[in-house]
Amino acid sequence: MIESRSNNDFAVSIRDITKRFGETTVLEDINFDVAEDEIVVLLGASGSGKTTILRIISGLEMPGAGQIILHGKDVTNIPARIRGTGVIFQSYALFPKMNVAQNIAFGLKLRRKPKADIKQTIDRLVELVHLEEHRTKYPSQLSGGQQQRVAIARALAYEPEVLLFDEPFGALDAQIRTKLRREIRTLLKEIKVPSIFITHDQEEALELGDRIAVLNAGRIEQIGTPFEVYTKPSTEYVATFLGAANLLDGNIRNGKFESREITLEIDDEYEFKDGQPVKLVLRPEDIFLRKPENLMQHYQKLTEGVIEELSFVGAFERVGVRLNMPDNAPIVVTRPKTETAAFPLQPGREVTVGVVRFRILPDLARTREHVQRAAS
């Protein structure tokens, strides 16, 4: 998880951060880095600790242990006001009695920049965030998206070491959210300021981040590119939090996954012991209900099944399938429109279920049970 590069190679380095509130540990051994023009997304459910990390990086909270390093400088004990981070709050926190230009200028005035420089910076930034006609307006006269852009411009004005976004799209409706996060990502790539976003929205994380750190109960479960964490989740939590996932219990036998009638060849990358309890992770879009015509190399038959329910969800069809296996809940399969049109299904129809991609994870709970049973 921690690359073997020095702290000086990264814009932001978080080292061994731990935080407790009373008896409750909210963060434990948090480690990650952010490169110079990278966007890292901290993804997690409410209460996972992501907001606390952001507040610690910005200096609004102190960690119990660990270090925050910005551009090679340890800022752990430096107050927020001289740390040089730019924070975009969930509520944007625009100063209500200042107009757009005054909000943007605030950080520069605090730094006693010359008036000419301040004016130049304001002009550049209102153009950058496309708010030229709104510079004399007050926050209450702006839409949510416009307020957010002012918040970004305000943070950029004083050239922060890192930009920190606290669930910036939470207050916006779905359509605007999608549009804005693409615009924000384009903008951040243009200005090349290292950025850290926190969100609970997995779609947002996948679209925004160069890398995603998935948090669960104060710990980072996995950190990697969106492709890595989605296709190769390293824990059950990551698999189910980031996208839909079907889980099947099984064991490793003779280098293969086995679960009742199901046998699947697995890649050499896995290093499981024979007999080890594991979980098979199947993404709905990687499951096929007929053998694909353009045969994919990795297609393997899973078992037979029966269609239980179908629902139209716009861009795809969601299908509930009951596998011909005892004690198994239906698995969920998604089919694109092309597949739906070519191969229409009805509830009750028998189908052959196959997969082209899957992931095997160690089943720690069953492994512990086996160990305890063996010990007793």
């Binding site: 107050p79 740390r83 981070t85 926190a93 605090l110 943070a155 004083y158």
Partner: protein
């Protein structure tokens, strides 16, 4: 702004509850509030405007009005500054005894004003707990300073009471944003917090000032009620009434009543501006 809380119809035909309720409201207010206020104006102008003007411009009357305004100004200034400071400290920090401090600040509202005046005499009077150590030339009681002290005491919680709820509900992310941008605590307070409290400060100041101008119970004890020296407008009304000079008393009563109307009109009609964003 409509006061209609619910558009639900409760009857088929004409609903008499609404006009009846309003009529009862006015009928109760009439003898208790409206008629007494009207009496001041009716009586005060009954002998003609010239007589009214003469009463109003009498030297003692002018002095009394000025003294009321000046002492109220200083009391308001102090209480707004202290109220703002107290509200800021209590909204921002938790500490042992915090609730007790809030209660203590609010206590003057519950204490009868005569008791307040009496207490000040016991403290600062010539034989008071602290007053006994002051020289004769530096005595506070029976001077305009005593009036200011009394006004401070009785209006102590007013500005605080208006400012505190606004501070408590103010988003802390504004201050945090300011801090992350490089502002010190003072800069954040001056540039961010204070502008957002503009309405509350003005509202608290107007309330405090109006209350001070009308203060009687404590003032009559601590001032000595000396004409052209320590006699405020309410004391002037009292003195002139006792002397049988009802017209003189009435003229100042009209001025004070109009002044109160003006202040409360501002508080009511400018309330949207006075409320924070």
């Amino acid at each position: 702004m409509s006061a209609n809380l619910s558009g639900v119809r409760h009857t088929h035909g004409r609903d008499i509850v609404k006009p009846l309720s309003v009529a009862v409201l006015i009928a109760v207010m009439l003898p208790l509030v409206l008629l007494p206020l009207a009496s001041i104006f009716i009586f005060g102008t009954s002998t003609g405007l010239a007589s009214f003007w003469k009463s109003l411009t009498a030297p003692e009357a002018v002095f009394a009005l000025k003294l009321s305004m000046v002492t109220s100004f200083w009391a308001t200034g102090f209480n707004v500054v202290f109220g703002l400071f107290a509200a800021y400290v209590l909204a921002k920090y938790t500490f042992w005894g915090r609730n007790a401090v809030i209660v203590l600040i609010s206590i003057p509202t519950a204490i009868p004003t005569a008791v307040a005046g009496f207490a000040l005499l016991l403290l600062w009077g010539p034989y008071g707990l602290l007053g006994q150590y002051l020289s004769e030339d530096n005595q506070i009681m029976f001077t305009p300073y005593a009036i200011i002290l009394a006004n401070i005491f009785v209006t102590f919680p007013l500005a605080f009471g208006v400012i505190m709820p606004v501070l408590e509900t103010m988003s802390r992310s504004l201050e945090e944003a300011s801090a992350t941008m490089g502002a010190t605590r003072w800069q954040t307070f001056w540039h961010v917090t204070l502008p957002s409290l503009r309405g509350a400060i003005v509202g608290g100041a107007l309330l405090t000032f109006a209350r001070s101008v009308g203060e009687f119970g404590s003032t009559i004890l601590v001032s000595g009620n000396l004409a052209n020296r320590t006699q405020t407008a309410p004391l002037y009304i009292f003195a002139k009434f006792n002397e049988g000079q009802v017209e003189a008393a009435n003229a100042i009563a009209i001025v004070l009543a109009l002044f109160s109307f003006a202040i409360f009109s501002v508080l009511f009609f400018a309330r949207d501006w006075l409320e924070t964003d």
